[in-house]
Chain length 314, copies 2
Amino acid sequence: MKEVNTTIIREMHSDVPLIPQLANYLIASGGKRLRPLLTLATSRLLQANMEHAYNLAAAVEFIHTATLLHDDVVDGSQERRGQTSANLVFGNQETVLVGDFLFSRAFQLMVKTESLEILGILSKASSIIAEGEILQLQYQGNLLIDWDIYKKMIGAKTASLFSASCEISGALAKDKAAQDALRTYGYNLGIAFQITDDTLDYEAQEDKLGKNIGDDFREGKITAPILFALEHATLTEREFWERTLVRHEIQNNDLEHATSLMIRHGALERSKDLAREYAQKATLSLESIPTLSLDRELISLLKALPTSIVSRLS
Amino acid sequence: MKEVNTTIIREMHSDVPLIPQLANYLIASGGKRLRPLLTLATSRLLQANMEHAYNLAAAVEFIHTATLLHDDVVDGSQERRGQTSANLVFGNQETVLVGDFLFSRAFQLMVKTESLEILGILSKASSIIAEGEILQLQYQGNLLIDWDIYKKMIGAKTASLFSASCEISGALAKDKAAQDALRTYGYNLGIAFQITDDTLDYEAQEDKLGKNIGDDFREGKITAPILFALEHATLTEREFWERTLVRHEIQNNDLEHATSLMIRHGALERSKDLAREYAQKATLSLESIPTLSLDRELISLLKALPTSIVSRLS
């Protein structure tokens, strides 16, 4: 990851000083760098060209950072990773444009690997992410959302980049079988990750996560815990969800009441079960890669990662 | 261009209906499609693969459209091409995200041409555009801007895409000499185009242009006519520019006064002369392409285009 960090610092340079300032404000703020880590680990596993892998890992992190910057403008966010969000510090306009810069720079980095297949995988993932974000925006405050729509949404906005971050290593190593396995691994891992994140929004420790509990609730985002609570809602409960999520009339203690309804209907448990199920699917996807010649320690790590992500849930 | 329009319609399709709706709202609003036209004309001139040229022309228009959508959000625009701008009709959030979608889709289209060189040219141009936009934002209301900074700014935000739109045809035809000539042609044409546009902002017929006279003035954008008027400003005049452009205290008749100062100092004439000079440079750049085997009518058209663009100036 040290090589990737060096690449990130070098590639976000620009004659316009605001660009590295703003980009670094978010990048250095202690994100988990899960996506570039996945690219590195899977590339090393397949003994792919690591110089190319460093560039690709940086490209993946740039795409992710660009979407976060645009998200923060889109959502009017005030906080990200426990600090004031970039849009508030640097301005909405600057944040949109630095996002555009990072996105373009990501493609410049990809070109260096000289693989059209990889450019195809990541440009497709990028357009799917945008579709997912728009879908989420359109369903904000819409109580008709169900598991299928929710899965499509998180599959697009989150799992597609996890999937691409892993798949490109297979393409880099020119190993078709591994590429298919890693695509599925990344997708399932992404779904598990997002359900976990959405569930933690109702039960995390504020100081630990660097985000405020109940953000999704206040923004009217219908995530797994809410849609499972909605399925079993009484008429009175439905009226409560309509007032808070659709009409955004939120009073003191509404978040506590929302959480208590989730507990009453087992919605948090069901979300956790699903996160665990997708984590297991992810681990299983790796079974199809012939392990004979592979680094045993690394494959064990990749197999354990999904469970470790889901274990953030109590 | 019919083929390009078909490609544009097909490629902006998405399962999320808002995407083609919003994209088409801007794309169908009667833009000049100058950039895709340049790609088509120069590709035909060099007898390049036209199937690839259609995809590249659509990609270039998608990049341009994405930057316009983001610009409108960044500037808080109310009007674009004589109609209410997309951000007001569809919302800022939707507009940013559809811009991201079109941008990603542009790269997917480029991948189809299977030329890493072209992907390199267009991804570099995209990051330079973002740098130019940020530079412009930072210099808004800064009276210290001079010709060099202004040229760098419009070179980045406008001329770089004009340049790339032409250069890629040389790369597609694998003709290095033509590629160099077309890169310079596009760059000079872009500079001429932007100076023309900036000058028309102070003397166009409103109904003809579909944009309001004085938009740049009201936004505090320091363009060629202002910077030339500033060069010769008296102390009183300087105080006027500071009040209007820096402090944004704009009163009735200020725009008329600004225009009269530009006329007094010959700033509009100087801008027009520069636009004509760059138009001429563009035409001259084409001389280095050996014309023996080329379509005479097409080369004449490309040589006449810069003058025709500048001729919008009275």
